[in-house]
Amino acid sequence: MKSLKFYLVSIIALIFYSCGNNEEISAEAAPKSTTYTENVNAEELLTQLKAREPELAQFIEENPFSNFKTNKGKTDYYLDLEHIVAVKNNQNEAVYSIPLYMKSDVSSPFLYTLSVAVNPENIYTNLITKEPLDNDTFNYYGSSFNIYKKNSQTAKTNLVDCYCTKVYTDCSCCSIHASAGCTHPAVIVTCGCSGSGGSSGYIPPSVPTGGDLTSWNGGLNSPTTYAPTGDGIYIALRKHFRPDYEFTPLEKYNIINQPAYSGKLVDFLNFEKSTPINKAFTLQMLKSMENGDFIMTKQLTNSINNFIYSQKSPFNVDLNSIFENASAAESKKFLEIYDALSKSEEFKKLFLAIFDDNTKFNVKFEIVDKVYKQDNPALEEVNANTSDIPGTDNYLIKLNKKLFQKDPNFGQITIENAKTILHECIHAYLFVKAKNPAIGMDIETALNISYPSKEEQHNFMADKMIPTMQKVLSEIRDLVTTNAGRIEVQQRTIHPTINPMTSTPWIWSEYYKYLSLKGLEETKSFMADYPFESDQWKLFAKYIEYGHQDLQL
């Protein structure tokens, strides 16, 4: 207790000593201030400790965080020797802060730091517990640290008024803390003072951090902002998870040390809400970060976007190739249409039971320069195709890029593209049903029948699935056409027969039917129902043409 008091006094004295001095942050600044902060490697600390505290040196050296997963350590403590920060002064004194993780700490909000204060006479160790607070700051608690105690539960012991954990500041907060609290308007992120909002200053992401130097604006409590530091992100993420869940030490380590990635997870939860499924996905991504699955942040961004679209759609979608080129006009148009389809109850009903909560089936979308019949470049170019990837339960839908452009041969309007994407999704559905008839719902018109082979899918679609397609198109109509276009097309008078001349108004359900049949002209039932040049065929062609002319977005 005595040593703790001494320690606290010494650390506060160390901080206080510097009050009023300008902080040196830049290497170019001169002269060097009396107190400063720097990142140090473990070697510097260990060299000092080996001469004076060999047991402590050995303990630190033998329990690096890299041993955490392999369970090689003999104690409960694992030290992150890659991220040691030291506060030093010109009196040859230094306080080293080593991030510490405990195996036994499976579910707590706390972050820990092993503090080693070194001066010419003594060496003091202390375990600092950081408790995240609702005001986006930390409370700091100090407790004695015993390297021989295998399982040292820290909990909250002695509140440390001020403590420098990462970066040094002039600590003006500390000098007035006792009487008036920390009321300074701008603090350079370094010292934590209980309740002061010191070390993990809460700043909006837009504020440039300038390395460790940043300003604390204070008072912000929006869920969409957070300090772009490891600590700041940890606090923000934890807010999304509590009270149901506290991060494991490994998760904490990855959140704190991979801010470029973990920050994206906060953004994801901020924008998509912290629903249980989103939180589960976040934990999954933390696991991927832990496993080193991501080499660049773009991969995590793609995973998040795929998840968002999969959540909104009834099956797992892999849109990586589309996100890779997200700013391209065709990608934007595709995503708009896909969003619209995902809002259709009929679309969801059809695919939900077969794909939802079933990680077995995945549908990958690609927009490519050219799509060929049967994927054979020797054959004709087509709008799109769907294929099953041999030996897997994955399906690949390739869409011709020209569908989304003003291409004379392939360019389509939005509702036509929605139909094409729906048409391809139905191919994927039929692939799954043919292989796994028991999975998912049966469409009403196909009860008690077997699902078709790949070659027969178009016939099946024309025979059995037109009502389903009509319903989906009716549900998304207003999302894929404009009001002006709808008014325009509704002015049309349709003439189902010429001799005798008959007339009807524009009938939307008829349009959906004909649009759904587009692409199925070579099927048996189409040819039987719509013989070429028959009145039925002409009616089909006119509905399609009028829709194309009037419903362009």
Binding site: A384, R492, E533
Partner: protein, 151 residues
């Protein structure tokens, strides 16, 4: 000498009376001459709700064959038909853009639908049945396209 004459006649005939497939494919605007006949008809439809009076120009392409081409008046938002009155000099000037339906017989029907008469082109019908004192009426039309895309 005899063969050369024949060759010249053949080449001349080809140049005078029809364009090649690639020539037509390159055209942005196509003028189609129409004369009422047994297989080529026009149908005037009853007035629509908004006062628009539509018309079809139907070409029965290969006579008894079922393949045909159907063009209708282009319906503009202001409901005003795009009509031009032109004389012979206009036709001469735009000779290369005038495509006779009868000259398309040598091409595949789906190729015409999907490549020659695409939706990106502008179509006009030169209605010779409305010819008055060598002034011809030209109507802006849409082509009821029946290209069958593959999905």
């Amino acid at each position: 000498m005899k063969y050369i004459k024949i060759l010249i006649i053949v080449l001349l005939t080809k140049n005078l009376y029809s364009q090649s497939y690639s020539d037509i494919k390159k055209l942005d605007t196509i003028y189609i001459p129409f004369k009422v006949g047994k297989f080529d008809i026009k149908i005037d439809y009853p007035e629509e709700k908004d006062g628009f009076k539509n018309r079809s120009y139907i070409f029965n392409y290969k006579k008894k064959d079922s393949h045909y081409f159907d063009f209708e008046f282009k319906k503009n938002p202001n409901r005003i038909l795009e009509i031009k009155k032109v004389d012979k000099s206009f036709l001469k000037k735009n000779k290369k853009s005038i495509v006779k339906i009868n000259d398309l017989k040598k091409f595949d029907y789906q190729d015409i639908q999907c490549e020659l008469f695409t939706r990106s082109k502008t179509f006009y019908i030169i209605d010779f049945s409305e010819n008055e004192d060598n002034v011809y009426t030209i109507y802006r039309v849409i082509h009821i396209n029946s290209c069958m895309p593959k999905e």
